[in-house]
Amino acid sequence: MNRVRRTFFTQAAAGVAILSLAPGFRLVELAVGKSDDEPVSPSVRWGMLVDTSKCAQGCTACVEACNEEHGLYGFGRAESDAQWIRKMELRDEQTGKTHSLPMLCQHCADPPCVDVCPTGASFVRDDGIVLVDKHICIGCRYCMLACPYKARSFIHEELNNQRPHAPRGKGTVESCTFCVHRVDKDLTPACVEACSAAGHGALIFGDLNDQRDPVAQKLRDLPSTQVRDDLKLNTAVRYYGI
């Protein structure tokens, strides 16, 4: 390639990069939702901010909504029953300050569950949602051991009456999907909706990559924390107030 052409291409590439990467400026506005036949886009990264100052102690609206949405039910064994989101009550022993917060799959950008999965069943979807493809999950449970958040459950028993949009079955591992079936239809996850309906509004869901999205704006303005940030997993669920 001659020198003139090479210079032209370098400058053109730089120009395109500047135009498209300037913060808050887009040549083409992003579409609000995707159509059914469109694959998810890596330009989106779904995430959640948990405002623990608004999360009410003893309230389990998010957990109940999740159980209802995905048809989760137990067998009376709390240690092994499926649980996609759980409420935790924390207390600082020195000061006595208490926090209430939901713990769920943190949808890491570099998830340990995906690293250890021997079949490729655990994967990160292009829009950042961490999922289990149960068609290829062999139920080895390596991911459950690898997850620092204890976010995954193994199904030990045969299940009945699954919801049509939430297939689940014996011998596979499962966890929060950010309500992927709802997100694909431009709805927010069931827990977020339930938290708002309960009047707390402690959960904010949206596109972390879109600077105009309320979740991205809040995360820019508020000091937020990643649980176990020492592991550098780049979680999509961030906490405020802990």
């Binding site: 694959p39 998810v40 068609h135 299940l159 049509p164």
Partner: protein, 142 residues
């Protein structure tokens, strides 16, 4: 048995298999929505032979890429082929004599789909707009 005779026998068995399949071919009857339609989303012969390939292809697209088109979706198969009992409730599609089970029992092929997937449509408000495939939709899909 010589290898020629053996291969002839296998060929015969394969040929008769198609006849069995035709005979076993699910009887679309009863009060399912499918019973009112002339043809499925693909020609009947193709559906009988390749429905599992369509489903497998679609499942990978849906789980990994979030593509949720309705034409080859298991949810739509069930929505359209499920029959209703006298009390108005849907009968599981893998129950004895129902659409999936009828044919799979005849050809002795087990179905794993319904270990995880719901075998009947949900008459909830959330799904009513989703399971409304019509004759016009099928025409446009062809």
């Amino acid at each position: 048995m010589s290898s020629t005779a053996c291969s002839r026998l296998i060929a015969c068995l394969i040929l008769t298999l198609f006849i069995w399949l035709e005979q076993a071919g699910a009887q679309i009857s009863g009060n399912s929505r499918a019973a009112e339609l002339e043809q499925c989303v693909e020609p009947t012969a193709l559906m009988r032979k390749s429905h599992m390939d369509f489903l497998k292809h679609q499942r990978d697209l849906t789980v990994h890429q979030g593509i949720r088109t309705r034409k080859h979706s298991l949810l739509e198969c069930i929505a359209c082929h499920a029959e209703k009992a006298a009390n108005g409730e849907f009968i599981a599609i893998n129950a004895q004599g129902q659409f999936c089970q009828g044919c799979h029992a005849a050809v002795a092929v087990s179905m794993d789909c319904f270990q995880c997937h719901a075998a009947r449509p949900e008459p909830s408000a959330m799904l009513t707009n989703h399971i409304s495939i019509t004759t016009a939709d099928l025409d446009s899909a062809r």
